[in-house]
Symmetry: none
Subunit: 123 residues, 4 copies
DNA sequence: GTGGTCTAGACCACG
DNA sequence: GTGGTCTAGACCACG
């Protein structure tokens, strides 16, 4: 799996990596139980600080997306906790994005089409 | 229009206010040409510093959502610039949110229903 | 002569009017000795405060572009003081504008052509 | 690169700094990728508040001239967005400056010569 | 060590 | 009375 960092983004690097791994798991690109690169390897590959990758893995672990152990490194959990609902933060983000799309002149139809496209990526 | 700040959020205060005003404009709660509270009034009302509100207004101005002048204070622009498309950042956010929703066990149908609900708020 | 105010501009109204009158004099649209509208008339016509127009006229007078007397109102001076050189401020502005044009990807030829066009308006 | 503030100017400090950095980038004095002084260092050096410098950097960032990150501080972007044209504001400023030059008695030839000089600084 | 955010308080130009 | 600017000083997340 290829992870790309956007250096112009305001999203912190550790969060960009986290987001891409989450999307990888959700889309199926990363399978349950699959091994992730070691902190050191990923940091080296991306030319960033090991601390940054470490922060990503700890976050993913605390969110229940991955497991880490000293022997095997980090692996995708095969029983990710399902709360069954979206966080209020994400709901709010959705509202913000939709409202901005409308003000940008994106039509309802265009937006629905785009949303269907994104849904088909993950469902 | 009531603006609520979540002091525990990671989103900076000036950005929370900005987001709520954008949503207000998009939903129609704030009409084109409508006066916004003065910097001082809003700061007082929310118990925050005038500089913070000022930052919000300048951001909204630079984004083309409002205009300010010393006589009338700030008001909603009546010809908001329409790029016609969503920013890459917002598209990416949509993908992140959808991917997280799926991993949380939200079904495609539930998500579609929620999206329709949000769309009907703004379109 | 038609004066247009851009309400979105950061340039104060009194300065926008001043600039347009100066350009009118320089282009010949306003002739030496020509009568300007009264403060009251111009303010009424533009739907702005008389104080704003008054400020404009006082500025133009202090800059030596117009004369005012109680009997005849304001007139374009027929012997505008010629310093013979550009102000340092204006030179600096030119440098700023040219530097921004270049960074915007405007070619030297395009810029020269535009400058010739502007020069032919006033010379 | 030396930045000089004119404390008597009407141009706000953060804007004076912004203008000089833009001119520095355009003239080549500041190279793509080059580090800018840290907010604190520049503020200290110029004897002004860090907030003022911070405002400058955020403006330059929002205009696409520089990028900032917490590790490296601020640096000049190597792919500055090129709109391909001058802003209407800058065109208007050019007209104002040329019209004032003419009224000051600057000849067309002198002005053309000065413009060529400025163009050769940046092109 | 860096930029980002926020406060309390002040002064100013504009209208 | 309004927004715009600036200071002095502080705390925080990121890396």
């Amino acid at each position: 799996m290829v992870i790309k960092i956007n250096e112009y983004s305001d999203v912190p690097i550790y969060m960009q990596i986290r987001n891409q791994i989450v999307m990888g798991i959700s889309s199926g690109e990363l399978s349950p139980g699959e091994q992730l690169p070691t902190v050191r390897a990923l940091a080296m590959e991306m030319g960033i600080n090991t601390m940054t990758v470490s922060k990503t893995y700890q976050l993913l672990k605390s969110e229940g997306y991955i497991l880490t152990d000293r022997k095997n490194g980090a692996r995708v959990r095969d029983n990710i906790t399902k709360s069954g609902s979206m966080s209020d933060e994400n709901k709010n983000e959705l509202r913000r994005i939709v409202s901005e799309a409308r003000l940008s002149g994106v039509s309802k139809e265009e937006l629905q089409k785009m949303l269907e496209g994104i849904l088909s990526e993950f469902y």
